[in-house]
Subunit: 311 residues, 2 copies
Amino acid sequence: MRYGELPLEAKCTRCKGTATIRMPSHHANFCPPCFLRYFQTAVQRAMKTLGIQEPGPLMVAVSGGKDSLALWAILNELGYETRGLHLNLGIDGFSHSSEEAVRAFARERQLPLSIHSLKETFGYTLPEIKGRTRRKICGVCGFLKRQFMNRLTVREGFRYLALGHNLDDEAGRLLGNIVRHRTQYFAKQYPLLPSRHEKVPTRLKPLYRLEAHEIVTFCRLASIKPCEDPCPLSGGATSHVFKEALDFLEAKMPGTKRDFLFSYVDRRPPPPAHPDFGTCRRCGEAAYETICSVCSLLERLEKSKKNSQES
Amino acid sequence: MRYGELPLEAKCTRCKGTATIRMPSHHANFCPPCFLRYFQTAVQRAMKTLGIQEPGPLMVAVSGGKDSLALWAILNELGYETRGLHLNLGIDGFSHSSEEAVRAFARERQLPLSIHSLKETFGYTLPEIKGRTRRKICGVCGFLKRQFMNRLTVREGFRYLALGHNLDDEAGRLLGNIVRHRTQYFAKQYPLLPSRHEKVPTRLKPLYRLEAHEIVTFCRLASIKPCEDPCPLSGGATSHVFKEALDFLEAKMPGTKRDFLFSYVDRRPPPPAHPDFGTCRRCGEAAYETICSVCSLLERLEKSKKNSQES
């Protein structure tokens, strides 16, 4: 929020009241009520684009950060029946604050919440896994959370899993895939991924039309208190580099980021629902290989544990 | 050139002699002779990729800047018969320095050179045009130079016109077209554009494999003294913004810029040679409309001149 850049006595572009919120990518300034209306409309429009016509039950993946709590709040306001799903990663301090932010949010709004821990689910905390593998921990954390969220969503009888990825996340990922010619990921670069396996719900990203700074503003106006600590294990992730390059272009040419992502999404149909997964012969979850990434990781972790106990 | 970052007593990656040149995008350091060999090879490889097998006569568009003089020098070293073609834009100071740099280069190397001026060719200097049109002057200068260079190349009996665009220029243009979804330009985003009209030569960009900083190094090693003044009319051009965004990615992930451009160029054939131009019914040059952009501009300039004389 760059209040300092708002002209004195700036008027709201919608209602001509006093504006306090700058929206450079819309060449507009908003007052708080008009901003909230804009935010709601953006999510409704996203749901319509994604083909979700009726408010039905949605599982919401909640990390405790600004995006997932804003998502949970707005879906609830729009009348969706929701349940929050949180996975405690077992990272000292960070995981405790994250879980507390989620619990406080659910308590205040009296929303149903399921909390699980990585340790109880897979037998290890994330730092324990990091100590036993040479793989990049952000990638490992990604597929562990993905399988866990999919599994629990289906087990609790939900067809949809809503995720907090915002416009900056999606545009950054698109730019990265384009610059690195990762054409194999283009088909899945869409804010809705239909279910392609009985153990995988349809995944959707209702915040894909909203920028990170707009979500920060929404949290402030809606009195949401997210966990603001950065993950202490995420150093070295390259995903933010493409977001920063887009922020650079956005600063020079406001609106670039939105136009870039939307004209890509709007020109394309959602990816097809035909199955490209098999089934893991060990755990029965969706898998690209005969054994899923989670079982294959757990197997290597077990070996490493035995080796360290023997030596 | 970031000499400061070269480790003391760094070895040349090729010959193990003393390295003085850092090549971060190649994860290499070079000594001057190995750098010059690398530079030559890059141009030879470009010519091969562009399907130019035999050194034949080439017209070279020379502005007097580093890229066009480096291009002229290297094509000459590689045994091509070349002629330089310079257009003086009539910009106070800048155009004089540019023409002087071109003349000095041709004189020292005893290379044939044709010099013309915008005033003598079209009746106006660039500042005069800028004063009489609301269009962005960089775009106007672009199509005036393009038609002039094409016309003179064909008139002097050359089939090929070589242009100094480098890797940074081409990658920046590609990124801009992708981010802005200017899909209509994708087909022409290639370092070779076959002739599509009898008044248009085949245009090629033999430096597309070389980064701007590599060309600066080449000029220094080859004792080329380009005009280093920036064009005083170019303020506000947005083309450099995409180059800067790529420089940002390159600094974080060296090699990104090359990979981005090359995997795009290498996956595609050159654009087809079928004609998409008509012929201007006023001047007979290539034109997308019934009147070419140059005649249409000149017509408006004449009107504006008459109006200002009458008032």
